[in-house]
């Protein structure tokens, strides 16, 4: 990449791509919000936003302006400093994830960082700290419940998430995002369907969407950890949530859909990348719009008793195949892998039911 820049200028690369990544994240989030709201319209027999700009494309802009003009309310009993910092702490890791996302072959801020995916996993867990800070600092009981939920649930979905990513790393033999795209004969969601499923489900829990959005479960705990936030601070949480969704779908596109690769000329690779990202996001929208929410104990037992064994099984299968084929798994292994994945899921869903019942309490 360096030879592209005159004088081999490292800092020029850094400056230009920081701007590109920031712009991509912000514009991407706005487009995601638009896609989601229009998508909801399709799923829910209604129109979705269609007033601001053509097809309602400017709705997010209008919302952003509205939210900027809102009064910023801080509760008198809040821990002011933590209350102020929390939105930034939630939002920052989301932006940092984009540093290693390869939009094209080697096109990105740090696309060939040699610990790319490890960095993603480490950074994206940091947001939880901000969420807990927000919940604690608000000094509101609903916020605390939301924050406690996210702390309790985090471990149960992060472990399957990391284990499913490990399967990808085994196939491609590298932690660098750029090499992961290059590795593997076919897109990995075909070669390792089980891994993709586990990744998708735990990613949904990680980004607090869909049936797993219990930390801001609006019908139960009002707005969860950001009940006491208004104005731009609330918008930061909103940005962070959608930014996280954007980041997760970018990572899914990189890990399981071969990122920029696709038919057509080389330079439309970025377009392929965005198409795959939006495809993953539409899957997420579909899940969110179709399913009621799980309970917190059901999410945890789902993580520990369903996703974790499947993730381990997936790791064993892929590991065996990598050893058996000497590193290069041929593409036709997708057929047995699909069969095994289907059998395992059927077997598991028979044996396992979303548990959790009444707790006996002394009144």
């Amino acid at each position: 990449m360096k030879e592209l820049w005159p004088l081999g200028n490292y800092w020029a690369h850094w400056a230009v791509f920081t701007v590109i990544v920031l712009a991509f994240a912000i514009v991407g989030v706005m487009m995601y919000i638009w896609v989601e709201r229009r998508g909801f319209g399709v799923f829910q027999l209604r129109m979705g936003p269609n007033r601001a700009g053509p097809f309602g494309l400017l709705q997010s802009v209008a919302d952003a302006i509205k939210v900027l003009l809102k009064e910023d309310i801080v509760p008198t009993v809040a821990d002011k400093a933590a209350h102020f910092v929390a939105p930034a702490i939630v939002f920052l890791p989301v932006l940092l994830v984009f540093a290693v996302v390869p939009f094209h072959n080697g096109f990105g801020l740090l696309p060939d960082l040699n610990i790319g995916i490890l960095y993603v996993v480490a950074i994206s867990s940091l947001g939880v700290v901000g969420v807990f800070m927000a919940g604690w600092a608000s000094n509101n009981k609903y916020s605390i419940i939301g924050a406690m939920r996210v702390m309790a649930a985090m471990v149960s979905y992060e472990i399957p998430l990391v284990l499913s990513i490990l399967g990808v790393v085994l196939v491609s033999g590298s932690l660098s995002m750029n090499d992961i795209v290059a590795g593997g004969p076919i897109p990995l969601f075909l070669l390792t369907p089980l891994g993709f499923l586990v990744f998708l489900l735990s990613a949904m829990a990680e980004i607090n969407r869909g049936p797993f959005d219990m930390l801001e479960a609006d019908s139960e705990i009002v707005a969860g950890f950001h009940t006491e936030y208004s104005g731009m601070k609330f918008a930061m949480f909103f940005l962070a949530e959608y930014g996280h969704a954007l980041a997760m779908s970018a990572i899914a596109a990189t890990l399981f859909f071969k990122g920029w690769e696709g038919p057509g000329a080389q330079y439309i690779g970025v377009l392929w990348f965005i198409i795959k990202m939006v495809f993953v996001f539409i899957l997420l929208i579909w899940f969110r719009v179709a399913f009621p929410r799980l309970r917190i104990d059901q999410l945890m037992s789902f993580g520990w008793k369903f996703l974790l064994p499947l993730a381990i099984a997936n790791l064993l299968i892929i590991g065996g195949e990598v050893v058996g084929f000497g590193g290069d798994i041929p593409w036709w292994m997708m057929f047995p892998n699909f069969a095994v994945a289907g059998a395992l899921i059927l077997l598991f869903s028979r044996a396992y039911s979303l548990g959790g019942g009444r707790v006996e309490v002394k009144v």
Partner: protein
């Protein structure tokens, strides 16, 4: 620090009166141990308008529009129960055609009310972007169009009068009802396909918020909440009013009285309502009066009367004491949802906060009726 040194303590949380899913201005003082509900105390009265007292200052006919404001998702039932009580009191005979008309609007109302109830219940389960609710409201809109056709209103109908109804059906109404009855099964099947076997709906509602048969009876519960425990009790069968004794229909009952049974009972009742509608469209006399000849200023004889019907949420009754003047001496409303939520505490103790919300949603309350 040793694990035994860690202390936990229950904390009190104030749910409502402004909470996204307390269906109005219901407030509960909930004591939580972590996520588990340890104690619960409903606090009522935020929507109290003194409707029962207002009745004493109005003539019998003038009170009808106020009954609309009780359970506003089932205004027809309130109208019906009230005029039934007054008719009992004054000994007025309602023309046969008017009785059939009342049954038709009542059953349409029941479908509409149950659609809203099931939709909101699923919303409380956390289908947080309103998808099931919007599907239910698609059909509810058609019903509201029908009501608009007969009385010009979409929410507070004020349609029934003492001795009959305010207007006759317009000529296009009955064909429209027939069309609705014909196409509704298709949409009901759609709801069944989408929801009945949904894994998350099952996990969240099966076995949650159980209430025993004995408790349900001794707490005088009614409607789908009572029938979900397996008690076959429906005023339409037990004490037939109007012309309900002329129809063939079943009383759907549940088994264990959990959230899922309550949801199922409502869905099954919609099927039964469609059956009743079909029969009443066939049996309805072509011509005839739609209102008995009742004086404008009604002076009922001294005495007492209790008129009760099976509303969407249970036995809805109006108890009227008359001193022979133009206004009731005293009026009391047996509001089914008020009595149904008295068991909320027994149902929800030991469950999580999320379940508390869904249990509350499955009772299908309407604050206009609880606080009156």
């Amino acid at each position: 620090m040793e694990a035994t040194d860690l202390k936990t303590q229950p904390f009190v949380i104030n749910m409502g009166p402004q909470h996204p899913s307390t269906h109005g201005v219901f407030r509960m003082r909930v004591t939580l141990d972590g996520e588990v509900v340890v104690d619960l105390e409903p606090k009522l009265g935020y929507l109290h308008r003194g409707i029962e007292k207002l009745a004493e200052t109005r003539t019998y006919t003038q009170f009808i529009p106020l009954t609309d404001r009780l359970a506003y998702l089932g205004s027809m039932f309130n109208n019906h129960a009230y005029v039934l009580a007054v008719e009992k009191l004054a000994g007025i005979r309602v023309p046969l055609r008017a009785e059939y008309m009342r049954v038709i609007v009542d059953e349409l109302m029941r479908i509409s009310s149950h659609l809203a109830a099931v939709g909101f219940f699923l919303n409380d389960l956390g289908a947080s972007v309103f998808t099931p609710l919007l599907y239910m409201y698609r059909e509810r809109e058609k019903l509201l169009d029908l009501f608009e056709m007969v009385c010009g209103q979409r929410l507070t109908y004020n349609y029934m009068r003492i001795g009959g109804l305010s207007h006759d059906f317009p000529p296009e109404f009955l064909p429209a009802v027939k069309r609705f009855v014909d196409e509704m099964p298709f949409y009901m099947e759609e709801y069944e396909n989408l929801l009945a076997e949904n894994e998350i709906v099952l996990a969240r509602s099966k076995g949650v918020g159980c209430i025993s048969k004995d408790l349900a009876i001794s707490a005088s519960l009614a409607g789908p909440v009572l029938r979900s425990t397996g008690v076959k009790w429906d005023i339409r069968k037990a004490d037939p009013y109007s012309v309900y004794d002329r129809f063939e229909f079943d009383i759907p009952v549940g088994e264990q009285g959990d959230n899922y049974d309550r949801y199922r009972v409502r869905i099954e009742e919609m099927w039964q309502s469609l059956r009743i509608l079909r029969q009443s469209l066939q049996q309805m006399p072509e011509g005839g009066e739609f209102r008995a000849n009742v004086p404008h200023l009604l002076y009922p004889p001294k005495g007492e009367a209790y008129g009760r019907i099976e509303g969407a949420q249970g036995e809805l009754g109006f108890y009227i004491v008359s001193d022979g003047s133009i206004a009731p001496y005293r009026l009391h409303i047996r509001a089914p949802t008020l009595i149904n939520i008295t068991c909320l505490r027994d149902m929800s103790i030991g469950w999580k906060v999320a379940d508390l919300i869904s249990i509350f949603g499955s009772i299908d309350v309407c604050l206009g009726e609880i606080d009156r």
